[in-house]
């Protein structure tokens, strides 16, 4: 009895700790005052109206979405085949290759950012959005390798041999057996990658410019000059956006299944 009460107190403590900042931000966005105040002073939607008039924020939001989707496609497209390849028996250079593709997760992101910046300068790149997308792919591929690698390890041994014994060639085995079996872990990886990209500051700050400025960088540069409740309004919109994303995923796949390791035996 007492034990379960202690547990529930701790659990609620964690919930409050996590939720409190969100509540402050959401509440603060409705204030009438010219600064973020909590509890809000009066009730007003003027900061949302002001946000709607800021074309630059809207453009940045669209850019973040484009970057997020492109980076996700890129990281999944590279990471899934790499994970399958690296899971196949020992071959020459496997250890090195694995360490190499995993390295962005170990290196401080700042260093990756500086290195990419220098590299783009050297080759005189003039593709602002693409530069950021590539940067995001580099740092998110390891997450795909991790989740998909774990998914592959959880598969029953010999399922590919079973498929082959039943008359399936390599491509059919890959498309009908291997990939569908690891689909849940690919989905988890995909969600991670999109969130990391959408939320990415460190890499983006080195690579963004007037031509391509993802939303987190836009917010960051805005608050360098002014901290007004419009920032709270943007944040509230983002919170709502994430919430909707989770609801959609939950409806489509069931997050319990996705994060609960739907590939178990």
């Amino acid at each position: 009895m007492i034990e379960s009460r202690i547990v529930s107190v701790i659990a609620w403590g964690v919930v409050v700790f996590l939720m409190a900042p969100l509540i402050v931000v959401i509440g603060g966005s409705f204030t009438e005052s010219a600064y973020v105040a909590f509890p809000p002073q009066g009730f007003s939607l003027k900061w949302y109206v002001q946000l709607l008039e800021r074309k630059d924020f809207f453009t940045s939001f669209k850019e973040s979405l484009v970057i997020g989707v492109a980076a996700t496609l890129g990281a999944v497209g590279l990471g899934v085949p790499a994970a399958i390849g690296l899971s196949r028996g020992p071959f020459w250079g496997r250890g090195f290759l694995k360490a190499f593709v995993m390295s962005p997760i170990v290196l401080p992101t700042v260093i990756t950012g500086i290195a990419l910046l220098q590299f783009y300068r050297m080759i005189d790149s003039a593709l602002p959005l693409t530069q950021i997308v590539i940067g995001h792919i580099v740092i998110t591929v390891p997450y795909i390798l991790r989740t998909v690698g774990a998914g592959l390890q959880l598969l029953p041994p010999n399922i590919e041999e079973a498929a082959e014994s039943l008359g399936a060639g390599r491509i059919r085995t890959l498309l009908k057996v291997t990939l569908p079996s690891i689909a849940p872990s690919v989905l988890v990886g995909t969600i991670f990658v999109f969130i990391i990209s959408f939320d990415q500051v460190t890499i983006s700050i080195f690579l963004s410019s007037a031509d391509a400025m993802p939303l987190p960088i836009r917010i960051y540069s805005y608050i360098e000059f002014a901290i007004d409740p419009m920032v709270a309004a943007v944040s509230t919109v983002l919170i709502l956006f994430s919430y909707l994303l989770v609801v959609v995923l939950e409806r489509a796949f069931g997050l319990d299944r996705v994060f609960g390791g739907g590939t178990g035996r």
Partner: protein, 353 residues
């Protein structure tokens, strides 16, 4: 579905993994419709042999015929084999029915026909009412049945089973042994079964292939294997056999083997008294009694209760013995007592060491 299909023949198959010689010249003939068990300790090459037949292991030399076709260079998907793994290897994202349909789809069977054949196969293995479940929602025994249905639905020329019952608990395993055997009879499919459980091999196989270190030690029907092991190692490995060694001494009445200074056992009739041979006698053929003066005595080390019998472990100056006795007999000779062993030469065989 009842068809007499081709048999299997292996001719001098050699396979090495680097320095390790996994198969050292395996020749074996399995008749159409026959059920053969490959039995041996782990690392003896039995699984490698099965994987060679399936096409997942690649012998450096030798021939493997399925029916009359040499399949050594044929990829697994074209060998028309049914394969059941110890892990079952079911496709986790497919339902039981879809798992069974898989091999039919790759063969271009249309969906409706595939479904009806898969249903028939699932019924045949005794699994009805679980068609829409995924492997994770099935028990071990049910998964086993799906794996079996998936392997037989394609009407394979050869059915290969790699320790398929090893993961089941004992009661279910015994039940599955019986079912699997009668299913194999019904289908008449040539079957090769890998196991390290000799009881399983004895219960199911028409013939047992005993393997050791990449070689075949003996091929025989279960009862013959049990009664007439071809050498001392097989005698010890299959069942509770005792091996007694000693110098061969010929006296007035004929050849004897001196297993201890004061214990000679007469050789069975017709046995050739060569050197390098040992006497083989089954544990249940050894009788015990109170020792006489001057006779070789054995000390009872321990009793091991096996249900119907008690296995009595004995040691003496010439080695150790195991005797299987009914409990009331064993009770006469508790641990640390001294006894004499009675061995009838007619129950013995002289085997190569």
């Amino acid at each position: 579905m009842i068809t007499a299909r081709g048999g299997l023949e292996l001719k001098d198959v050699h396979l090495r993994y680097g320095d390790a010689h996994a198969l050292r010249g395996i020749s074996l003939r399995v008749d159409p419709g026959e059920f053969v068990a490959l039995l041996g300790p782990s690392g003896c090459g039995k699984t490698t042999l099965l994987r060679s037949v399936a096409g997942f292991a690649h012998p450096q030399s030798g021939h493997i015929y399925i029916g009359s076709k040499d399949v050594v260079s044929v990829p697994p998907r074209e060998r028309n084999i049914g394969l059941v793994f110890q892990s079952y290897a079911l496709f986790p994202h497919l339902t039981a029915l879809e798992n069974v349909c898989f091999g039919l789809e790759t063969r271009g069977v249309n969906v409706a026909a595939a479904r009806s054949r898969a249903n028939a196969a699932l019924e045949l293995v005794g699994l009805t009412g679980f068609h829409g479940r995924r492997p994770i929602q099935l028990s071990g025994g049910q998964q086993q049945r799906v794996a079996l249905a998936r392997a037989i639905v394609i009407e394979p020329d050869i059915l290969l089973l790699d320790e398929p019952l090893a993961a089941l608990d004992r009661q279910l395993r015994v039940q599955m042994q019986t079912e699997l055997k009668s299913l194999q009879r019904k289908l008449g499919v040539t079957t090769v079964f890998v196991t390290h459980d000799q009881e399983e091999a004895l219960a199911m196989a028409d013939r047992i292939v005993v393997m050791r270190d990449g070689r075949i030690e003996q091929v025989a029907p279960p009862m013959q294997l049990f009664a007439e092991p071809s050498n001392a190692w097989v005698g010890e490995f299959v069942g509770a056999g005792n091996i007694l060694s000693g110098e061969i001494v010929v006296d007035d009445l004929g050849p004897t083997i001196m297993v201890a200074p004061n214990w000679r056992i007469r050789l069975p009739n017709g046995a050739k008294p060569d050197a390098g041979k040992a006497l083989f006698v089954r544990a249940e053929k050894i009788g015990l009694r109170a020792p006489l003066d001057g006779e070789c005595t054995l000390r009872v080390l321990a009793h091991r209760f096996l249900g119907v019998h008690i296995e009595v472990h004995l040691d003496f100056s010439g080695g150790t013995l195991r005797a299987l006795l009914p409990p009331e007999k064993a009770a006469l000779y508790p641990p640390n007592s001294h006894v004499a062993a009675v061995i009838d030469p007619g129950d013995c065989r002289l085997l190569t060491r």
